[in-house]
């Protein structure tokens, strides 16, 4: 029986009192590459943010290796969406990757030789060593994504959350990222990836989470990524859920 890396119990997440994720309940065993798949607005990014404690939970809980996120931060790496960052900020590629080590360093300490070595190695792993001193605005989409990945690698985590890492990157970067994911998996790490391209799910992932405001299915790709389940995922929103959600937002049953 493999260890459970990540588990969600009956989690509901609401935005301004309106539920966007309903009663999610799932288990992810260690050492798997997991794709999170669903239409726009399905709550995929919300799922990750809720797991990381970035948005409050209306109910339920999230466990990472059996404990709450707050106790397990060291074990978790995060690659947010590229749009969420100020790309004109005065930092170089190297500076960004070093940020991955800040959590370990703690208050007041500066990154030293060991941290710089780690950053160098991570840059090499993503093939961006030549760009170490470049300002981040000067990079292409694929290069920016690799820098973010390098930063997550520098976190040296056990469980990784990647939000749309393949969005808007070139083909070479995409295959580089996939190779990296495989390397991580061989190292026993677990990776959850919000993914938008259905064609590549079977090739890239072992497990898949099908999401559309509620959990449709979660499990090994072979048994879970079926036409039936895809129909349920992409076959439109459940109007009942929408109506109930709207009623909850307005705090009373709809007139």
């Amino acid at each position: 029986m493999s260890t459970v890396a990540f588990e969600i119990h009956d989690m509901t997440v609401a935005y301004q009192r309106r539920p966007v994720l309903w009663d999610i309940d799932l288990t992810i065993p260690e050492g798997n590459l997991v794709g999170i798949v669903g239409p726009n607005g399905a709550g995929k990014t919300t799922l990750i943010k809720a797991a990381l404690g970035l948005v409050p939970l209306a109910s339920g809980k999230v466990e990472i290796y059996g404990k709450s996120y707050r106790d397990q931060r060291r074990l978790v790496g995060y690659v947010p969406q590229r749009e969420s960052v100020d790309w004109d900020f005065p930092v170089t590629v190297n500076d960004v990757v070093l940020m991955g080590t800040y959590g370990r360093l703690g208050w007041f300490r500066r990154p030293g030789r060991p941290e710089r070595d780690i950053a160098e190695k991570c840059l090499e792993q993503v093939g961006m060593s030549a760009f170490a001193n470049r300002q981040i605005r000067q990079l292409s989409g694929g290069q920016q994504q690799r820098v973010f990945l390098a930063r997550a690698l520098a976190q040296d985590a056990q469980l990784y959350f990647l939000d749309e890492p393949f969005a808007g990157v070139d083909a070479a970067t995409e295959s580089a990222i996939v190779d990296l994911l495989h390397t991580l998996r061989s190292g026993g790490k677990t990776v959850l990836v919000v993914h938008h391209d259905l064609q590549t799910v079977r090739d890239y992932f072992d497990h898949v989470i099908l999401l559309n405001m509620r959990l449709i299915a979660c499990g090994p790709v072979d048994t879970t990524f079926t036409n039936d389940n895809l129909q349920k995922t992409y076959g439109g929103r459940l109007t009942i859920l929408d109506e109930a959600a709207e009623a909850m937002r307005q705090r009373e049953p709809l007139r």
């Binding site: 009663d23 309940d25 109506e243 009623a247 705090r251 009373e252 049953p253």
Partner: protein
Amino acid sequence: MILQTPIFAAMPEVTPGQWVVLTGAATNVACALLGCFLVLRRMSMMGDALSHAVLPGLVVAFLFSGSMSILPLFAGAVACGLLTTFLIQTLHQYGRVPSDASMGVVFTSMFALGVVLVKKFVSGLHFDIACVYEGTLELVSLADPIGGLPRPLFTTLLVLLVNLAVLVLLWKELKLSSFDPALATTIGISATAMHYLLMTLVAVTAVASFEAVGSILVVAMLIVPAATANLLTDRLAVMVLLSAAVGVASSVLGYWAAAFWDTNIAGMMTVAAGLLYVLAVFLSPRYGVCSTLVRNVRMSLRVLREDLLAMLYRVEELGSQKQMTAAEASEAVGGGWLVGWGVRELVQKGRILRDGERLQLTDKGRQDARQLVRSHRLWETYLVQHLGMPLDHVHEPAHRVEHFINEQLRQELESEIDPSRQDPHGRDIP
């Protein structure tokens, strides 16, 4: 000259105090008309920036015309307003400087330039810069009148009319370019031109108001009533009217308070405006803090009442002859001070009977409870059948959602689920 004609020759004698209030009110309205758009376009600080940046323009106009008459001053304001807007836009677009920093860079530099020009070329009473800041509303009088009105009032009314005219003539253009500049530009309404027009009007209004209320208080009059109106309504036309009304109210209130405490009038008008804003924050029917609180409490109360009814129903259903006491019921639904209130309301509405400490459902109460339990169990069934949730996980979610399910939703649920008359736990669906 047309300007010499006394406009209000037939008006009764107006006291100086009344002139002050009128001037303050006129300034407020002139500013509020523009302020609505500043607030909606998220350009509130441009009011602050422009009112500082026009200083060099005023000095130059003064030097050129040799007097403080209106037209050259307005010309200076327009020119400076355009220049400032242009510089800020250019810095932001071509210099890649963030927009708030562009504003800060331009207005402080221009103001410094203005100060230098003043100290070097102008001296004397007319250009006491501190007065530019705090205004001289107290001194509004019929000295140096134009058209039978005190000078500051005349200039302000003039500007007010201009602003009003622009608003009326270009209403839909302003409205569209505020909400969707891209769309506006594509259908031929240049968003840039609207922006420059608005900024120029703000500059002119600011200059016209300096004499009376000073520059910082112009900023208050531009933004605060507009923001207040924004809290009270969702419709643009109503917002403009309300902001003018709030502006007038703050003028009147401010004047009375200033007279009462014998302090600076314009400052008091600003404070009054701020207080009205705070009032709106709390009391706005739709967005106010108080109304939100009230709604929240009402909701909690309703949920509590429904929980009580549902629980009594379930106890009956189990066939037990025992009647619950108020204390037991209170504990079962989680206790708290609202429970007593909830019980009282239920008794008042005839949903339960209270016999000493014991509670019992009335027929009406039973009916209500049935609907609630029905919602609960329908939802549980839905969760199990459509969302594939395990049995032991469905009670909690259903317990939360049941209060928000109306009859239509119940019917929809019924049509969606497998028509057995039992919920996943094996109980009847009423």
